[in-house]
């Protein structure tokens, strides 16, 4: 089966398959689908019919587990995709403790470092993934361009491959067995209220500026918050890290000492844990500078309140998520999962994610699904020629707007560290809880 699929001449398979589908569906929009979903073809007829009965259960965080994707899967591929959106912690828990409850896991890379060694997932065969060559190199070798430096932390490429088909040991460099297919990623920085901070913000250390006493916030998810704290401490020149993403006990102590002192001095107004909380803190003016996520900034702006996702000179803290296949999947369902993943990389989803301000794994195919103006705005950092619409069709940015932080190269090229799971994870979490309780 695998041989036929991978061995069959790609172009021939694609054309026949698509024209058959086009004929069947007779939709005008099929032109876009035709380019994008070359993945759906190459099935023997029986399977193409059976696949309609397949249901795949996917779960993951709210950022990428969108019903629009499930609807489009039904339309393009014919099978049913059930989406469950949870928060990061619940995702990690469910991935490890209830591996039979899902078929496809959309998990973050730093969580992958915990989940994959638990043996609940199966690596993916790279040769079955059509657009593998076009995946952004960050996820393969850690470098955006051949010259760029590898960022600290749990960089996706360090947990992106395992040594063999049944291995749970991460490989040092790319192999034929991939743990996750990158779906969504972004570079995070501080969000500010430019109308209230009253001065330009240029460094992570501004989070602890006494001028913002009682008006700052940081997120209380230890694995992510500690990285923000590290960016702050490093920018202040207080702590020098060997690797921010894998701190020593001493580095953890120093970092959290600085944060605890700031907390005791009344620097923070609140800690947030969910997307909504961060939006509310910012839009109500309780907080004017905080670690934030880009769609949360967009949500504040959507209320007509000024909010900027401020690029900082020390660079960004990045995160990424990807699709993995549960261990128990086999046969037709496994094939369907591969079809789905190939479809995922074929452009439609990529464009959808890019339009939300995130980035997709394969940029070439996403570009085909975006207008030149959209592409120029989101990916090249150019001023929008027309109004920029969200995937749901709402106006996100007026014509003339420029994206915070500029182009894809500027943003992802300036990643200083990735969300991480450290060797001293358990110690770090204990210390973090002490900080929060202090």
């Amino acid at each position: 089966m695998t041989e036929t699929r991978t061995g069959s001449p790609l172009s021939a398979g694609t054309t026949t398959g698509v024209s058959r589908r086009t004929l069947l569906k007779g939709t005008a929009a099929a032109a876009g689908v035709a380019i994008g979903s070359g993945a759906i073809t190459g099935f023997p007829t029986i399977w193409a019919q059976n696949i309609k009965n397949v249901t795949l259960r996917q779960f993951g965080t709210g950022v990428s587990n969108l019903n629009a994707v499930a609807d489009k899967v039904k339309e393009d591929l014919g099978f049913t995709l059930q989406m469950t959106a949870l928060d990061s912690d619940a995702v990690a828990q469910r991935a490890v403790t209830q591996p039979k409850s899902y078929d496809i896991a959309d998990i973050e890379y730093w969580i992958c470092k915990k989940v994959f060694p638990a043996g609940v997932m199966q690596p993916m065969d790279v040769s079955k993934i059509k657009n593998f060559d076009k995946i952004v190199p960050i996820f393969v070798n850690g470098k955006l361009t051949p010259e760029s430096a590898v960022a600290q932390g749990t960089a996706p490429h360090t947990v992106g491959f395992v040594e063999g088909k049944d291995s749970i040991k991460f490989a040092k460099s790319a192999t034929q067995w991939m743990t996750l297919i990158p779906t969504i990623y972004n570079a995070d920085t501080l969000g500010i209220r430019p109308d209230l901070v009253g001065r330009p913000i240029s460094s992570w250390k501004d989070l602890l500026d006494p001028a913002f006493k009682g008006k700052a916030s940081i997120l209380n998810i230890p694995s992510i918050g500690i990285m923000d704290a590290a960016m702050v401490c490093e920018a202040m020149g207080e702590v020098k890290y060997g690797d921010k993403g894998n701190m020593t006990k001493e580095e953890i102590d120093k970092t959290l000492k600085i944060m605890t002192d700031a907390k005791k001095a009344g620097q923070f107004r609140a800690f947030w844990k969910t997307f909504d909380e961060s939006v509310n803190l910012m839009s109500s003016g309780e907080v004017i500078i905080q670690s934030m996520w880009s769609p949360a900034v967009a949500a504040v702006r959507a209320k007509g309140i000024q909010c900027v996702y401020q690029p900082l000179k020390e660079g960004y803290r990045a995160w990424g998520g990807g699709l993995g296949i549960a261990k128990h999947l086999s046969g037709l369902e496994l094939e369907a999962a591969y079809e789905y993943i190939n479809w995922y990389l074929s452009g439609w989803v990529g464009a959808y994610l890019n339009r939300q301000g995130y980035y997709s794994a394969v940029l070439d195919t996403a570009k085909e699904h975006m207008s030149p103006d959209e592409w120029a705005f989101w990916m090249e950092g150019q001023p929008a020629k027309t109004d920029i619409l969200s995937p749901e069709g709402k106006v996100m940015e007026k014509a003339g707007a420029v994206r915070d932080g500029g182009s894809f190269q500027d943003r992802m090229g300036r990643v200083a560290c990735w969300n991480a799971v450290m060797d001293e994870d358990r110690y770090m979490v204990r210390k973090w809880n002490e900080f929060v309780a202090a």
Binding site: A90, Q93, W272, L281, E434
Partner: protein
């Protein structure tokens, strides 16, 4: 017809009373067990077994991915030697104590008003039902609605500023211990009102009259007659409030802006980081602390005797 039937039955009945008696006495002995059976079974399955599981897991080992059946004391060691634990317990007990005092004052006053000031039973019931109206919306909604009210640019602050009472927004209103206790009182005052009202309604009015006739002032009547007789209600209400506050994790997080800690929050954090054994150890300690508190309260007031 009936007459002739009697002897024939009587002859066969000579053996029956003995058999029936045995059966009846067996039934009589078994009946209480049968009656208690369903509850005992439910408690066993839904309370005892889970608690025993938690106790067992609290001795297991874990890393960031899995838990390992084992017998280690590290979980308790890490818990009890950590200054955070003590600080958090102190903080939680502080919240519990403050909430207890305030809800007790409110609960006693409201119950006293309902039981002794309102004369008609109909009005008593109507007003009592009015007290339960807040329970028509969920806890979380009632809690969250405080946030826009108390916030820096919230209703209260903007009201005070426009009334000229203050120049700067009051910062302590939201994301502070004040906000946490306020929310607790708001959420749990009724748990105090109901049992106190209930025990006050059982007080024989003749006792109050007798005290008045004996020359007692209103305050003396409340202190020497009503308060001692309302003790079982106070004890029950206190148990409700204290156990609810000790176990709470969402109120503290939301109202303190995540800046205060509570035991419940600590456990929730540990669970979310897959540190089940640590969470279990914490839960066992919390259970022990709460049980000690409840036992202490029951020592002061013998509910069974008073009821």
């Amino acid at each position: 017809m009936t007459v002739s039937a009697v002897p024939s039955e009587a002859s066969s009945a000579s053996a029956a009373p003995r058999g029936g008696g045995v059966r009846r006495s067996v039934l009589r002995r078994v009946a209480p067990y049968l009656q208690a059976g369903p509850l005992a079974l439910a408690l066993l399955v839904f309370l005892l077994i889970p608690i025993l599981t938690i106790v067992a897991v609290s001795f297991w080992d874990y890393d960031s991915i899995r838990i390992y059946p084992d017998f280690v004391l590290t979980n308790y060691e890490e818990l009890l030697t950590s200054p955070v634990t003590w600080k958090t317990y102190l903080n939680t007990v502080k919240f519990a104590a403050l909430t207890w005092v305030i809800t007790l004052l409110i609960g006693f006053t409201v119950a006293y008003f309902l039981a002794f000031h309102v004369q008609s039973t109909t009005w008593q019931m109507v007003l009592f039902l009015v007290c339960t109206i807040p329970f028509w919306t969920s806890n979380i909604i009632r809690m969250i609605s405080w946030i826009p009210f108390l916030g820096r640019n919230g209703l209260l602050n903007s009201g005070l500023i426009s009334a000229g009472l203050i120049d700067q927004p009051l910062e302590f209103l939201l994301f502070s211990d004040f906000a946490v206790v306020l929310a607790f009182v708001h959420l749990y005052a009724l748990f105090m009102v109901v049992p106190i009202f209930n025990s006050m309604m059982r007080i024989d009015r003749a006792l109050v009259e007798a005290a008045r006739d004996g020359g007692a002032s209103a305050a003396q009547v409340v202190w020497n007659v009503i308060l001692p007789l309302a003790k079982p209600g106070i004890a029950i209400g206190s148990i409700f409030v204290v156990t609810l506050v000790m176990g709470d994790f969402i109120t503290v997080r939301l109202m303190s802006g995540g800046q205060s800690a509570s035991i419940g929050l600590m456990i929730a954090n540990e669970i979310s980081l897959l540190q089940y054994p640590a969470a279990a150890a914490n839960a066992v300690v919390l259970l022990a602390v709460v049980l000690i508190m409840v036992v202490a309260m029951l020592r002061i007031v013998d509910i069974r005797k008073e009821l």
